[in-house]
Structures are given as C-alpha cells and as structure tokens.
Amino acid sequence: MPHYEPWSEERARAVIGEYSHLEGPLMPMLHAVQETFGHVPDAVVPMLAELLNVSRAEVHGVVTFYHDFRHEPAGRHVLKLCRAEACQAAGGDALADHAEHRLGCKLGETTADGRVTVEPIYCLGLCATAPSAMLDGRIVARLTERRLDALIAEAQS
C-alpha cells in the first residue's frame, strides 16, 4: 500500500526543485508531487506557475488535461481494471461488472469506507494474456473472477 506524506509547502518546493534543471520540467514535477502527496493539491499550482514563469491557468490546464493527475487523494488502495478492446474480447466486461457489484461502487469511484478506488485503465500492454488489472502498481494478467475476488479481498483488508 502506498504511503503518502501530508501536505507541506516546504516539502513541495524541495520535490519540485529536483527537476528544475530539466528542459520542459512540468510533467516530471507533477508526477513527483503526486508521488509524494498522493494527489496534486491546489496549493502547488501557483508555486509551479511562479517557478516556470507561466500563468496559473496554464498549470491548471495541464493538471486537468491528464487522466493520471488526481485532484483529490484516492482510496487506500487503487484497483485499475483494463477496459480496452483486447480485455473486452477476453471477458473484461463481466469482470468489471463483478468488481462494481462486489465493491458497491462504479468504475471511477471510491468505496464508502475509503478503502478502495476502482478505475478503468486503457491498456496495460498485456493484451495477449488478457484480461488484466493493476492493484497499487502491481500488474496481474489472465484475470478470472476468482483472481479478481482475491485482489478485491486484498484491497479491502
């Protein structure tokens, strides 16, 4: 399970500063912020804007464009189910329905107890051993209902 740090402006500056020598550093900086705090807090937007000499709107535009960047922290565990064509061809639809039913929430939502966020992902590149999923960064292929249940149980524990 990933451990994130509580928000700290000082820490954010240090994290961002590690990438200031790069060409076009905004994306690596945003990834680093999210890796540290679990999401991209609003407070980081003006900091980045000032550092990179662009408007707040431009930074906000980038943060909101990419699916990966979270505005709010996710649940304690993140279960991503591949919903792309190859996984659909191999029975992914039924597994997604099963996961929604078991967790009591839709793809893109977090369970009421805040334990599990379940999300669609479009292709993990494991298309010859479909369907596939990712639990907190760990990839699993040849997913069956039984294996999915095991992943869900692990995420709920």
């Binding site: 994306m27 980038v62 990419y66 699916h67 190859a86 010859a128 479909a130 040849r142």
Partner: protein, 520 residues
C-alpha cells in the same frame, strides 16, 4: 556442484503471470538442494501464452518450460529441471518451437535471449554493429542506407523514415532533437513495451544512429505511465550505456555526442499523436498542433526534430549493420522489411510474431494464433488499435501490407491484432470506439471533440432501436465529417472501427443484413 544458469523473464507480461513468484520458488528449491543457480531476468521471447517461460542452460542449449506457476517448481526440480529433464511443461528449445521457427526476426532477434541490462551480452549478440558502421559512413551515407531499406514509420502512418531524417538533417538550427514515440496506447499492441524491457540497447543504438545522421545531440523516449517496467528497464540501460561510453560525449571514442532521457506521460492516449506528444514533452496540455510547420522543421521547443516510433528506430541498427538492400529484400510492394505483429485478445496462442510483410490476416489469426481461446468461432479481428477497422473473417485473405489494408478501408497501424469470438457485440464495439474518442479527444478540433460525443448519442439511439435507418444515415454522415475534418488520426480514424462494424455486421445495428462488399 557447478552453477546452473536459469532464465526467467522480467517482461511485464511474465511478471503479471507470476514470474517473480516463480523466481522465489526456484531460489528456494535450489537452496534446499544446495544447488547454486544463477537467475538471469531476460525479456520475453514473445510466446506469451507460455509465460512465465523458464529456460535452463544445458549442454544441448537452452531448454524451455512453460507456463510455469509457482506451485510447479518443486515438481519441475524433481523431474530434473536443471538438466533439461522431461516434464509436461517442457517445450524443448524455444527457438525450435513452431511459433518461433516460422518467424523472421530482425528487430526482435535478441529479445528474450539476452540480459537486457548487460552491454556485454548485447555486443555478444551483434549489438552496436550498426553504430560501428554508421560511424564509418557518416551522416549522408547513413540516410542513404535508410532510404535504400524502404523503411516506413512503424507507428501507423507509414511515412518514409529517410525523408523525415533528410529534412531534419538539412534544417539549420543550433539544436536538434531525436524523440522516440513509445506512447504505445493502442489496445492489442505491446511490441514497444517488449523491446524496451527485453532489448533496450537496440533502441538506444537506433536513436544514437539517428542523432548522428541528422546532427542531434539529445534524445527523449516518451513512454506511458502504464508501462512502469519498461521505464525501469530503459533507465537502467541508459545508465549502463553511459557508463560504457555509448551515450554522452564522444560516443565510442568518436567525435559525436548524444544523450538520452526517458519521459513519462500521464494517461492521455492522444499523446501518441506526434505533435501532442511534443507539446506534452514541453510540459503543456497534450493538444494536437496543426501542420505545417512539420516537426522536422519546428518540433520540440520549436527546433528541428525527428520523431519516430520505437519499431522504426529499432529497425535502424539492422539496416546499418547489414545494409539497406538486405532489409528491403523482405516484404511486398511498398511495404519493405519486417513487421513485429502482435496477436492478442481472445486468442489461443497470443504473442509477438515478427515476419516480412505479405502474410495474410487469416494465417496470423487461425494458423499462428490458433483461433480463439474460448474455442468459439472467430467473428472479426480489430487490426491497428482502437482506431483500426474490424475485419470480418470473410476478408481474412487480406495480406499484411499498408496499401492492401488501405484498399479495404482498414489500416495496419502499429501492427496489433485483437481477435473477437462470435459473442462480440459489434454495435457495442462501435459505441465504445466513439466513447473512447470522446474521452481521449484533446479538444482542439470540433469534428473530434463534438463529433465523438454526438456519435455516442447516435449509437445509444441505434442500440435502443430508435429510428434506426435515419440514425444510421446520420452516423455515416458524421463519420465522413470526422474522417475528413479532424486535425489528427484520433478523430480522423475513429470512423474506421465504427463504419467497419456497421458495414460488415449491419444486422447487429438493426439494419437489413448485407453480406456483399459494403459500400461507403
């Protein structure tokens, strides 16, 4: 007891099927027997239904066992795994397996064989022969060699690579870039991932040659956040290459300098489009740029930029090592060389099959892929990712060739084939294509941004059986608008899966069956 060398892939697919657990089980079983073993984490051979494929080095060569589960390891040791002993999972020498023996491997020749973190292993298997010759030839002759090979962009567009390179070489600028498009977002494709995890030095070599040819000193590999294993493998290889004098200043003692950096996307499919990718690299929203100016003139940070797919760049070392003519000898028509084809979805023997252009879709799906894993009849195959057409079985005689596919309103794309059995709901797949486009549209052009949303609404009405005939006519019209009016392939090619599903399987859209060659 002498140390036995065992190969267990570190390819993401193998790991997702339990390779790390198998390694732990092998170590435990060996320790119990006081048998020293050396475990090498190679890439995948590409027979993905056999992953994790464990290989043991014996006096007769490497003997493979697969698919090995954690629980099989003890029994495998009892059966004499370390000496190539017999067992139900034994497949013999992997290179003699029919799936491998039928292939022509150039780009993937080393993948699954070498240790992807070892420069010495890379060299021992023919690595850096291409760069060596490139350094002797010099920039003009390198481009001439690539031109002779007939290499066309493997990302999907099929544009001649040498023309791109020549344009950048001729451009005057204080700084030029080589950008590798490794944003492999198409469902059913994994060749870029496999080569980055299994033979990353080949990509480094290809990019270095491109840098020398056009006068660029800096390169970026832009890949996906969904590919953490590929990123680790690439970064590791870059570090090793730098330490070995193969990246950085004065490569291999030559006057040329070139260095590389890996950059990670953030889950936006449209960043696989080259100009959106460049904007993303610059730290902007991944919106598509209008062309001209071409990236070759004004690319990354407005500097002349070569942007090529992983598979184009990894073909380059072979073209340089063995000559452009050698490469051009493979293939058919204007499609020269080999194509790493990826067989996926509902298929029995899914994997990476590199072969010369010209093989038919039917051979790939039925003979090599073995049909569906569910055992039900094949209904269609989507070729070329989410923007590729659904090809029905009665068109399976189609040869893998850019022009042949285009003539049937289909495309090769990045070479991915997703097989569907008879349970596939084609109207639902058409709706999905529109929905995917609406979610992933960068929003810059109206046909894609608005058209895809209208497309989803139309498909919902068609699926609900509302005024089917007139809604289908509107959908066809909308598809034409998207095809002709979109700025890039996302909006421009989404009509391919939609129209192909509708034309080949009209009865599933509530229209009368029409099994003849469907008109547009």
């Amino acid at each position: 007891m002498s140390t036995v060398r065992i190969y267990v892939p570190k390819d993401a697919c193998a790991i997702a099927c339990g390779a790390d657990e198998v390694v732990a089980a092998i170590e435990a079983a060996a320790l119990k027997r006081r048998q020293p073993v050396e475990i090498v984490r190679n890439g995948s051979r590409g027979m993905l239904w056999l992953e994790p494929l464990v290989e043991v080095v014996t006096p007769e060569g490497r003997i493979g066992y697969g698919p090995v589960a954690e629980d099989d390891v003890e029994a495998l040791f009892e059966a004499g795994l370390l000496t190539g002993g017999d067992h139900a999972l034994r497949i013999g020498k992997p290179e003699e397996h029919p799936f491998m023996a039928k292939q022509t491997r150039l780009t993937f020749a080393r993948c699954g064989i070498v240790d992807p973190a070892s420069l010495a292993d890379y060299r021992a298997h023919g690595g850096y022969r291409g760069l060596e010759r490139a350094l002797q030839l010099g920039p003009d002759a390198i481009i001439e060699e690539v031109k002779k090979s007939g290499l066309r962009g493997r990302g999907g567009a099929g544009f001649p690579t040498a023309i791109k390179w020549k344009t950048v070489a001729d451009a005057k600028a204080d700084r030029k870039y080589i950008v590798c498009n490794a944003d492999e977002g198409d469902s059913g494709t994994f060749a870029d991932r496999m080569i980055m995890e299994g033979d990353p030095f080949e990509l480094i070599e290809g990019m270095t040659i491109a840098g020398i040819a056009v006068g660029a000193t800096k390169g970026y590999v832009y890949t996906r956040s969904e590919y953490p294993h590929a990123i680790w493998a690439m970064e590791k290889a870059i570090e090793v290459a730098r330490a070995g004098g193969m990246l950085g200043a004065n490569i291999s003692g030559s006057p040329y300098s070139f260095d590389l950096e890996v950059r990670m996307g953030a889950g936006a499919y449209v960043c696989g489009e080259e100009t959106a990718l460049l904007d993303s690299l610059e730290g902007k929203r991944g919106t598509v740029r209008a062309k001209p100016p071409l990236p070759a003139h004004k690319g990354l940070f407005q500097k002349p930029t070569v942007i090529n797919n992983v598979l184009s760049l990894t073909a380059v070392p072979h073209i340089l090592a063995d000559g452009g003519e050698f490469y051009a000898n493979f293939g058919m028509g204007r499609s020269r060389g080999t194509m790493p084809i990826q067989i996926a979805g509902n298929v029995k023997f899914g994997g990476l099959f590199e072969t010369a252009f010209g093989i038919t879709l039917g051979e790939l799906v039925n003979d090599i892929g073995g049909g569906t894993v569910t055992g039900k009849p094949v209904k269609a195959a989507q070729v070329g990712g989410p923007l590729g057409a659904y090809v029905p079985t009665w068109q399976f005689d189609l040869p893998f060739d850019y022009e042949a596919f285009a003539a049937k309103d289909a495309l090769i794309g990045h070479g991915g084939i997703v097989v569907f059995d008879e349970n596939a709901d084609m109207a639902k797949m058409a709706r999905f294509a529109m929905e995917f486009c609406s979610v992933e549209s960068c929003g810059k052009c109206t046909p894609c941004r608005i058209g895809s949303t209208r497309g989803v609404e139309l498909m919902d009405r068609i699926i609900a059986g509302e005024r089917v005939e007139s809604n289908l006519a509107t959908l066809t019209d909308l598809c034409q608008t998207m095809k002709l009016g979109s700025l890039c392939a996302l909006g421009g090619f989404t009509p391919y899966p939609v129209l192909s599903a509708m034309n080949h399987f009209p009865e599933e859209f509530g229209a009368p069956p029409r099994r003849l060659e469907a008109a547009e």
